[in-house]
Structure formats: structure tokens, C-alpha cells
Amino acid sequence: MKALSQKRRHPLAAVALLLLGLLLTGGLYAAATSINEAQASNAADVYSASDVEEGERLFVANCATCHGINAEGSDAGPSLIGSGAAAVDFQVGTGRMPMQMSGPQAQKKPAQFNDEQTMQLSAYVASLGSGPAVPAAEYLDVEEGNIARGGELFRINCAMCHNAAAAGGALTEGKYAPGLDGVESVHIYEAMVTGPQNMPEFTDANIPPEDKRDIIAFLKNNESQSAPGGFALGSLGPVSEGLLIWTLGLALLIGSMVWLTSRSS
């Protein structure tokens, strides 16, 4: 203790203190970020070597034009090293990749690869560097999810772009948040974890896997429940309601007015 109080005015004390502080924050940060990668898997654990090999072949034939022959990226597309299997499974599984045309964002279309090929592509990309893995089945089981909690999380984190009823919404410059009806649970999960297109990433530190399951349960319930009040008019809110009263409502009124006054004079 005495030594410390004597040395504290040493010229190098400030430097030592600074180093100590940097080490501490750096260590804490490393520990914190590694939690986010808890889901990241080593490709070798899940995928066989032949999957990776076959995936590479598919990649070179279908993806390398934009993403580079070693997935290192080019002017036309980003590097996929460290993207992880979940990103590939989402992009390829929903048909967004290979991209139909360049534009504000990749659009959903029928998937271009079958499940096995998608898996092989995922295996290849996962082998390049660790990234989010395809989620385990337990986190996709909507029976286990809490709908009410999922709804709360959805409204706080997702509804500003995707609309409260998950009907989708506009973003800037022609980009948009798509409607979520009919999206498979696994793809919803992967989208949250990888943040495709303009979507932010929701890491496991941000929304734990169990909460993601709640959100999926809410969305699946939202998709399957019928609108209690009749036709939902696209669940778009007051605009479609206003449109209906000014079209159908007004037409019905004018029709009856003309009918009522048709025998005049």
C-alpha cells in the first residue's frame, strides 16, 4: 500500500493507469460481444465437409459475380466472410438472393435453390468465418412463445417500420419494410439476427432467443387470427378507412339519393 502511494507521482504512473483502463474496457467489450455470438457456430460442428465443398461449387457458379470468387466482396456486392449461415439461409431461402435486379433493395421471390442447396451454400459461407447460425428448432416453436409479450416487443422494436399489424411500411428512397404475413418462422428469426437489407440487427444481447420466439409466436398468431371486425382493408389504418367511406360509402349514398329523387317533377 505504501509502495503504491509512493509511486503514484511517478512520471509513468499516468501511462500505466491509461493502459490498465484500456485493457479493462477492451476486455469487457470482448466479453460483451462474445455473448452476441453465442449462437455463432463452427461450421465443422454442423455441416459436413462435402456440404461445404458442394456449397463452394454452387457459390462460384451463382454468387461469385457480385460477391467475389472467395466471397471477399466487390463493388457489386458485400463480402460474406463472417456473415454466417443464418444470413445465407434467409437471403437464399426467401428468394432475395440471387438478386433479380439491382434496386433500392432485394425483393422477395420464389426461392431459386432447394433446401439442400441452400443448406450447402450456408455451410460454405459459415466455413469462411463465424457468424449467426440457423436457429435451433426450440426457438421456433410458437407453442412455447408468449403472444402478449411478443406483441409488446414487436410494437416497441418492429412496428415503426413493419406496421402494428405487420402489414409493412415505407422507408426512404424506394426502400420498404415488407409485410410479415406468410413469412416462415425460421426466416423471421434469421432476419432479426442478421438484419438484412435496411433492417437493424437484433443480437441476442438485445433480444434474447426466447424473446425472439415470443415475437414469432405473436406474428404467427397475428397471421392466423381473422380480423374480428370484418374485412381488415389491408390493416393499413385510417387511410384505407377514409378511402372506403369516400368510395363505397359515398357511392351507396349517391345511389340511394338519386333513387329517392328519381321520380321528381
Binding site: 433500392p104 416497441i156 402489414a167 398468431n221 397475428n222 387511410v239 349514398l253
Partner: protein
């Protein structure tokens, strides 16, 4: 059909005859007993003989009245269950996705109304659809009154009452929209709060006064509830009474036609035909609204979740009639280039921020609303027309007014459309930013283009009317004359139609009038300029001479051979 006389007088004999009347039947006895004590005869005699002209465009006011009555009926039902309290509670009703969620009592009871009260959802939807229809009907009614010139002397004050009714309707709608306390309406309130706070100096005080402290507080829903179910409906009811009283006093306007003059009203008396029609029409409106309420979901408040000031959801819009406020806020840029429009005004106490982007939106709002109220006087000032008018204008015959009205409509429409700019972008695969830029262009160019185009269309329609009067309608029959000439047959229009086509006032430009000191002031000069834009381009109605001239061109028939009525109609209406 009957004409209404201005006064009816009864002799002493007639009164005593009524007193000594002995009814013969049972029903008659009951009726007579009641009548001698209530005096219904007088009322029926006075109101039952009021004549109303029949035209479908006259019925929008009725629709507004009926949909208001329906909102009152359905709203009374809702008050039995709705509790406007902002006290926190945990939802335990039937709707699973919200079970266990913490929310205000107001939101919980709105959900209870929707899911646990039998018929509650239907009544909620009926109330909301009726509210949308109420304001739509008022808006269309006002457009009809505007474009036909029914607001002119002596009806200017009733026009003002109508404008106030529209504002009260907007107030009723907005306060109702805010009551369920979900995220959608909470965001709407937040915008109003922001607009209030943008008012320099007093804004914050007004906002704190309304919300009982900082937004959102726990006072605002009960306060809006008092306004929504008590104060505003009372104001609307009183104004409706004044409005209808004035309609009876002024008598109804009518479209031009043979036998219709400034001194009569041609139509059916209220009793019994019109009363039956109007009463039946109430049920038609009720039926249309019930159909909408039963089949189309409106304000799915269970989707939005309990109000929380942090999230804003995609597709957050107000109901249609508040849309243009929202649209204006979207249209107004916060930056021009890199220069922020908001700035801090240095003051001795440290500086006040001036929210220019919000303040600027008050300009078009004030211009439109104030313009609506004072238009009857503005138009009278421009035209110099101080006469009474009971015969309506056909919009094409007043190109200036019609063009101006259309320009203002398009201006409103651009602001209105801007409120749905995000949905326009997603549903037509457009860039949100581009939609906004185009709407900004239209905001300025739209009204000007509309004015020019509408005026040209009106003048063209007037020319077509002239053409029809002078040459008749094309019959679609080609005749070959004995010497080989081909000619299309024209049929002359009937006297009835002829009257409508030629009997209108067509004012010409009035020169500047010097004031008492013999000078033409700046105000008078601007009046003359406006007068010129109104009347300079003019298609004169067909005169008697022109018509006779045209008749003489016909192979068969000259003026002498035609029934006197045809020419007479023109002469009698020549100005």
C-alpha cells in the same frame, strides 16, 4: 307540386270553426284532444307546408344530420362501458394477444367494448363509420352550396353557421379518435401537442394547460371525454337547430327551370311526401352505415397496443378529415439544403426556439379555414353583387367561382394526399422522397393549373350550351337531300330544356368606381383586377335575336310558326 305563398291569414270565422270541430272517429277524438292541449296543428300547418325542392344534391345536408344522429345513438351505447380513466390496469379480457399487458383503463374498457360486450364491436364500428360519414357529408354539402352559389345573400350567415359546424365536427372527430388511448391516437395527440408547443411564447402554456402538465400526463383523456360527449355535441346540436331554423326562414334554394323564380319555391311540401321520403332516407343512411360497420373493420385498436410515448408505428395517420394537417407537416421541409429552418431567437432570458417548419403550416390552414368563413363577403365584394339569390347557379355559368373553388379543392387534396405519402410510395412502388417532392410541386402548381383548366372547361361547356340552343342536338340521322347533299339532322331542344340553358345571369366586368373624393384607391384597383379574372372571359347566353336568327336557318319553321313559348322563355330572361 305546389307553390308556397309567403303568408297565410285566417279569418276569425275559420278559427271558431276549428274550436267547434267535433271529431267523428276514435282516432280523431284522441288527436283532437291532444291537439287542443299541445297545439300541433299550428306547427304542422307552418312546417308541414314548407316546400322543399327535390334534387339529389340537396340531400347531403340530410345525410350529415342523420349520420350525426347515428353517432349520438351509437355513442350513447359506448358510454355505458367506456371509462375514460388513465389509471393503470392489467388487461384480463378475452383478447389473448394483450392478456396481462399493462394499460390504461380507457384502453382496457375500449377492448372490453370490442371483445366482451355483446354487439360492442359493431356499435364501435358504427360510431366510427358514422363519424367519418358525418364529416364527409358536411364537406360535400358545403361543396354543393359553394359551387351552386347558395351561400349568397341572404344566406351568408347560415354559411358561417355551416362552417362552424364543420369545425365542430373536426373537433368531435379528433377528440373521439384520441379517447381509446392506444399508440395510434397517442401519436396523433403528440402531434397536436407539438403543434401547440410551436406557437411562440404561449405554446408551452397552452400545451401544459391542455395536458395538465407535461405530455402525456394522466389528465388529457378525461378532459377530451368531457369535450367529446358533452361540450362539442351540445355545440353541434345548437348549431344544427340554428342552421335548420335559418333554412326554414330563408326557404330552400332551387335549380333554375321553367316556373322557378326568385320569389317561389317549387317542390313537394314536407307533409306528407317529403316527410316520408326524408324519414325513409334516415333509415337508408342507417342501413348503409350498418352495412359498413358490419362488414368492414375500422380502427382495429387491439393492433396498436397501449399508448407508450416511445414507439411510432408505420402507417400512423389521423382519420381522413385531420389528414391535411398531417400532410402539411410532411410537406414542409425541416431543412432547405443544409440550412435548418428552425432557429433560436436570442432573448434576455436565454433564447426561445422558433419552430418555423411547424409554424409555416399554420399559414395554409388559416388561409383555407378563414377563407371558407369569409368567402360570401369576398365574392360579393369582387362581383359587386348585392342582390338576393334564391335560384342556384349551374357551376359552368360562373366560371370564375367554379375555377377558384376547384383550385382550392385541389390545394386541399394535395395536402390530404401528402398524409398518405408513405402508403402511396409502398403501394405504387415509388420512392417516398419522390412522392413528397412531387406533392410539394403540386402544392404550388396544382391550384394554378386547376384554376386555368377549370375555367376553360366551364367556358367550353357554356359554348356547348349555346351550340345546343342555336342548332339543337345532333340527331344521329344523316339525310340525303334530292340534289344529293348530305346533312345531319338536328333536333331542337324542348322549351323546358331551352329555359334552363338560356336563363342565367351573365355579369360583365365592372369598371372601377371612384370613392367620394373621386379617386380610385388601391383596394378598388385590386377589386377590379379580381373582377376581371372572374368575368373577363365570358360566353354570353343566347339572346332572343340570335335565337330567332338561328330558327330562320332551319328549313322548316320560322319564329312565327313556333309555339310562342320558345321565344318567350328567352325574352323573359334576357338581362
Amino acid at each position: 307540386m305546389s307553390s308556397q305563398s309567403l303568408e297565410s291569414k285566417y279569418t276569425e270565422e275559420q278559427y271558431s270553426e276549428v274550436d267547434q270541430y267535433q271529431p267523428a272517429t276514435r282516432t280523431g277524438k284522441i288527436a283532437n284532444y291532444v291537439d287542443q292541449r299541445v297545439g300541433g296543428t299550428g306547427m304542422v300547418r307552418e312546417f308541414g307546408r314548407k316546400v322543399f325542392p327535390d334534387h339529389w344534391t340537396f340531400m347531403f345536408g340530410e345525410v350529415a344530420l342523420y349520420s350525426f344522429v347515428i353517432t349520438v345513438i351509437s355513442g350513447a351505447f359506448l358510454t355505458f362501458w367506456f371509462d375514460p380513466s388513465m389509471a393503470s390496469t392489467r388487461y384480463d379480457g378475452a383478447y389473448v394477444p394483450l392478456q396481462g399487458v399493462e394499460m390504461s383503463t380507457a384502453y382496457a374498457t375500449s377492448l372490453e367494448l370490442s371483445f366482451d360486450v355483446r354487439g360492442g364491436l359493431f356499435m364501435r364500428q358504427l360510431h366510427h363509420w358514422a363519424a367519418l360519414m358525418f364529416i364527409m357529408a358536411m364537406a360535400i354539402h358545403m361543396l354543393r352550396v359553394f359551387f351552386t352559389g347558395a351561400f349568397r345573400k341572404p344566406r351568408e350567415l347560415n354559411w358561417v353557421v355551416g362552417c362552424t359546424l364543420l369545425l365542430a365536427g373536426l373537433g368531435a372527430g379528433f377528440t373521439g379518435y384520441s379517447l381509446p388511448d392506444e399508440v395510434l391516437s397517442g401519436n396523433g395527440l403528440r402531434i397536436i401537442d407539438g403543434m401547440l408547443k410551436a406557437i411562440p411564447v404561449v405554446g408551452t402554456y397552452i400545451s401544459f394547460f391542455l395536458f395538465g402538465g407535461e405530455f402525456p400526463g394522466d389528465e388529457v383523456i378525461p378532459r377530451l371525454y368531457s369535450l367529446h360527449i358533452f361540450i362539442i355535441p351540445a355545440v353541434i346540436l345548437i348549431l344544427i337547430a340554428v342552421h335548420l331554423f335559418m333554412v326554414v326562414t330563408h326557404k330552400h334554394t332551387q335549380y333554375p327551370g321553367p316556373g322557378r323564380t326568385e320569389r317561389n319555391v317549387v317542390g313537394y311540401p314536407i307533409g306528407p311526401v317529403y316527410a316520408a321520403k326524408a324519414g325513409g332516407f334516415f333509415f337508408v343512411v342507417f342501413g348503409v352505415l350498418a352495412l359498413l360497420a358490419g362488414t368492414f373493420q375500422i380502427n382495429a385498436l387491439w393492433n396498436y397496443g397501449p399508448y407508450d410515448p416511445s414507439p411510432v408505428q408505420a402507417g400512423t395517420q389521423p382519420d381522413w378529415y385531420i389528414g391535411w394537417f398531417d400532410g402539411l407537416l410532411r410537406l414542409m421541409p425541416g431543412y432547405i439544403g443544409d440550412i435548418p429552418l428552425e432557429f433560436v431567437l436570442p432573448t434576455p432570458w436565454g433564447g426561445n426556439s422558433v419552430a418555423t417548419p411547424v409554424l409555416v403550416t399554420f399559414i395554409p390552414i388559416t388561409a383555407l379555414l378563414l377563407g371558407l368563413f369569409v368567402w360570401p363577403w369576398i365574392e360579393a365584394w369582387i362581383t359587386g353583387d348585392k342582390k338576393e339569390h334564391h335560384i342556384l347557379d349551374r357551376p359552368r355559368n360562373v366560371p370564375g367561382r367554379t375555377a377558384f373553388g376547384m383550385a382550392m379543392m385541389i390545394w386541399y387534396f394535395v395536402m390530404w394526399a401528402a398524409a398518405s405519402s408513405d402508403l402511396i410510395a409502398t403501394h405504387f412502388s415509388l420512392s417516398f422522397n419522390d412522392v413528397l417532392i412531387w406533392l410539394r410541386v403540386l402544392f404550388f402548381a396544382g391550384p394554378i393549373l386547376t384554376f386555368i383548366i377549370t375555367k376553360r372547361i366551364c367556358l367550353a361547356l357554356q359554348r356547348k350550351d349555346r351550340e345546343i340552343v342555336l342548332h339543337g342536338n345532333e340527331a344521329g340521322v344523316i339525310e340525303m337531300l334530292p340534289h344529293g347533299e348530305f346533312r345531319e339532322k338536328h333536333t331542337r331542344v324542348s322549351d323546358y330544356e331551352l329555359y334552363t340553358l338560356v336563363s342565367y345571369e351573365s355579369p360583365e366586368v365592372t369598371a372601377a368606381r371612384p370613392n367620394s373624393r373621386g379617386k380610385v384607391g388601391l383596394l378598388e384597383k385590386s377589386r377590379v383586377t379580381l373582377n376581371r379574372t372572374f368575368f373577363e372571359d365570358r360566353v354570353a347566353p343566347v339572346s332572343r335575336e340570335e335565337y330567332i336568327e338561328a330558327l330562320s336557318h332551319d328549313d322548316h319553321g320560322t319564329a312565327a310558326e313556333l309555339p310562342a313559348g320558345s321565344v318567350g322563355a328567352i325574352e323573359s330572361k334576357k338581362n
